[in-house]
Structures are given as structure tokens and as C-alpha cells.
């Protein structure tokens, strides 16, 4: 197995164009499990951990650019946590300190699991994905980027460069159901923003459908919103919970999140 370790984004994109089969690697919290258990043996790995341009975050014209290599631990730091409070809450529920030090936002998008904790908070904030390739870059709304369970819209030769968000400033929260606080893959999760400026409520659920779903309503429809969210989900029975329980939990979480955000 070859490990390709580019030192710049240009080099990374050139290598990805030359080796489209190379699997992108950031913190390794998803891919290493597959390698350790021999579930996957790619011909080549593209180690992106040394690419400076993918690290950290920046502010441009009121929008935030979150580098694909931004870790959950970094999302929890001030001032970013204050700008994206629901994403910070979600990041705090990811794994353990060890996992939060390694796991990245870009990796969560790359894996595109229906249970990805960063996805619902980014969806309610209308995030866009910056996708780069040797031929240039393009932007795609996150809800179009997520096309199925563990499937995203990346094409051959493309890498996730960053996530763009314009913080709404709206009261927002993230909640997650699981058997304990740490090391939990969500049974189901919910991010919600009550946006008084746009007179809109936006909710996104995880682990309750093939992709993280987005549901919107006007502020005046708050009373029926928990039912709308539960109805929009398409959960399944699996080892972590039943479809019926997940729908019920989404109703409860939506009601609680509304109480929190409209208070």
C-alpha cells in the first residue's frame, strides 16, 4: 500500500489527479478502523495531514471558511465555538478527547455517514462545500453534496478543501441520543436554529434517514414543527435503535430544541 503525503494543496490535487483511486486520509478516525479490521485495502492512501492550506479556519466577507482538516477539538475553541454554537455542541459529543483531537470536519463530510455529527449543525446553517481538483474548484450546498448513506458528490480527482458557512447568529442547538455521553454513534440527533431575522425554523436530523435531512418552517408553524420533523425522517430498525423509537425521539428533541431556542 502506497502512502502519498503531499505538502501543499496543489501537490495534493496533482497526486489525486494522477492516482484517482487513492483514498483521502485526514485524522484517520474512520479509515484506520477499516484498515485495522481489513475491511478495506486501498492501493494507495493520500495523507492530507501535512497540507497547510487545509488546516484551521478563516473569515472572509462575513463567511467562515472551515478548512477540511479542522478538528473537532479546534471547533470547540473560542471564538469559533461562539460563531457556530450548534456545531460546537455537536463537536463536543464526538467520541472522546482522543477522537476530537484527530477527527476532522472534512473527514465527516468525506465519510458522509447518516450519523455524522457535524452534518446537521452545518445543514441548518446552510453550509457549502468547497471541492477542489487539479482543474479548478467548485462549490456545492452541503445538502446536495450528501447523496446517500456514506456517499457524497465527489467526482474522480476531487478533494474536499473546505466548508463555507455564513453564521446566522440565530439561537441554535444540537442534541444527540445515545447510551452514554462519550463514544456514542448517534441513535438519532437533531440540530435546530430559530432564525427570527428570516422568520424561519430550520432543523436537521441525523441517524434517521439515508442522509442527514433538512426541514424548514416559518416561526408561526412552531407548534406543529416536531411532528413535521418526525414525518420527514425515514428511519430504519438497526442495532442502535428502532425506527419507531427514532421518530418518537425526534419529536421530543425538536420540542425541547424549540423551547431552548425560542426562550
Amino acid at each position: 500500500m502506497d502512502v502519498l503525503t503531499p505538502r501543499s494543496l496543489d501537490e495534493a490535487l496533482t497526486l489525486k489527479a494522477q492516482h484517482p483511486e487513492a483514498v483521502a486520509l485526514q485524522g484517520g478516525t474512520d479509515l484506520l478502523v477499516e484498515l485495522n479490521f481489513d475491511r478495506r485495502r486501498p492501493q494507495a492512501i493520500l495523507n492530507l495531514a501535512e497540507v497547510e492550506e487545509l488546516r484551521g479556519w478563516s473569515r472572509e466577507d462575513g463567511s467562515l471558511r472551515l478548512g477540511a482538516g479542522l478538528t473537532y477539538a479546534e471547533v470547540l475553541e473560542s471564538p469559533l465555538a461562539g460563531q457556530l454554537p450548534a456545531l460546537a455542541e455537536a463537536s463536543r459529543t464526538v467520541g472522546s478527547p482522543q477522537i476530537r483531537n484527530r477527527g476532522t470536519i472534512g473527514g465527516n463530510l468525506g465519510t458522509a455517514s447518516p450519523a455524522g455529527d457535524a452534518l446537521p449543525p452545518l445543514l441548518v446553517e446552510g453550509a457549502e462545500v468547497e471541492i477542489a481538483s487539479a482543474g479548478g474548484s467548485r462549490r456545492l450546498p452541503l445538502r446536495e453534496f450528501l447523496v446517500g448513506p456514506k456517499r457524497n458528490a465527489l467526482e474522480s480527482g476531487e478533494l474536499i478543501a473546505a466548508v463555507w458557512v455564513r453564521p446566522s447568529g440565530a439561537p441554535q442547538t444540537f442534541m444527540k441520543v445515545g447510551p452514554r455521553n462519550a463514544m456514542v454513534i448517534a441513535v438519532c440527533s437533531l440540530a435546530l436554529a430559530a432564525d427570527r431575522e428570516r422568520e424561519e425554523i430550520r432543523a436537521s436530523f441525523g441517524s434517521a434517514g439515508p442522509v442527514a435531512g433538512l426541514v424548514t418552517a416559518t416561526l408561526g408553524e412552531a407548534a406543529e414543527f416536531p411532528e413535521r420533523v418526525a414525518a420527514a425522517a425515514s428511519p430504519i430498525d438497526d442495532v442502535r435503535g428502532t425506527a419507531e423509537y427514532r421518530r418518537h425521539a425526534l419529536r421530543v428533541l425538536t420540542r425541547r430544541a424549540l423551547e431552548r431556542c425560542l426562550a
Binding site: 485524522g27 484517520g28 485495522n36 494507495a44
Partner: protein, 151 residues
């Protein structure tokens, strides 16, 4: 492929297979079996090491990703004949039962006390939440962290 790493303050060169974890590199190639191999999926924390000063599960880092970086394992904490104060506290409070989880818990405790010299109980809980002790010796482990902090 050959990588260069600094392990416990010593520069080392080692040949690795591209698909192996840093844990495998440490245990099987660098002669450092202190970091334990249990779940291999980041659930148990028994392979916790410091990578460039950050607490990570060595099983979830690709060995090749450590090239050019600095690692501290449990072997690098104390001096010859002198345990680290966290290790001493684990011994004194009886926080070691079967001992398998101990290296990981010691590393997580050292990392916590570096960042928070006087942690609250909730901060200890949070800091150790990625480490499992299947002997369920958590009460003594908490005592050990509190004792190490007090010193």
C-alpha cells in the same frame, strides 16, 4: 517505506508498511509495547499516546502519518528508577487491577494535568471518557488523578 520519528525524545528511523497503524509501528517495530492493543477502533483508549503534544489513539493514526512528528508513549514518562508522579499516584491508590488499561489512562491523566493542573471531577470524567477499564476500577483511578493533581 522508511519514516523518521522522535519517540520519547529519541530520533528513530523505521521501515513501515503503508497500511499499518502507529500502534503497530510502536509495538512491533520500535520495541515499545507499553501502549496496549485492544479494540483497534478508538473505543478503549488503551493505546493513547501524545502526538505532537496531543492525546491520540495510536491505533487510529497511520504509522506513515507519524513521519517527521514527535511521539511520547508511556515508556517516555518517567526516568530510570523514577516513576512519573501520575504513575506513582496510580500505584499508591491501587488504581491498577489487571493493568491493561493503565498505560492509556496514565497518558490521558498526564495530558489532562498538563492542561488543567487542578481539574474538577467533571473535567476528570470528561478527560478519561475515552478510556475503558473493564475491571471497573474507576473510583480508584479518580483518586489517583486527584492525588497526582494535589502534588
Amino acid at each position: 517505506m522508511r519514516i523518521e520519528v522522535t519517540v520519547n525524545s529519541e530520533a528513530r528511523e523505521v521501515d513501515v508498511w503503508g497500511g499499518e497503524s502507529l500502534l503497530h509501528t510502536l509495538r512491533e517495530r520500535l520495541g515499545l509495547p507499553g501502549s496496549k492493543n485492544a479494540c483497534e477502533q478508538g473505543e478503549c483508549g488503551s493505546c493513547s499516546v501524545l502526538l505532537d503534544g496531543k492525546l491520540v489513539c495510536a491505533c487510529l493514526v497511520l504509522g506513515a502519518q507519524a513521519d517527521g512528528h514527535e511521539i511520547v508513549t508511556v515508556e517516555g514518562l518517567g526516568q530510570e528508577g523514577q516513576l512519573h508522579r501520575v504513575q506513582e499516584a496510580f500505584v499508591e491508590t491501587g488504581a491498577v487491577q489487571c493493568g491493561f488499561c493503565t498505560p492509556g489512562l496514565v497518558m490521558a491523566s498526564v495530558d489532562l494535568l498538563e492542561r488543567r493542573p487542578d481539574p474538577s471531577d467533571d473535567e476528570i470524567r470528561e478527560a478519561l471518557s475515552g478510556n475503558l477499564c473493564r475491571c471497573t476500577g474507576y473510583a480508584k483511578i479518580f483518586e489517583a488523578v486527584r492525588l497526582a493533581a494535589a502534588r
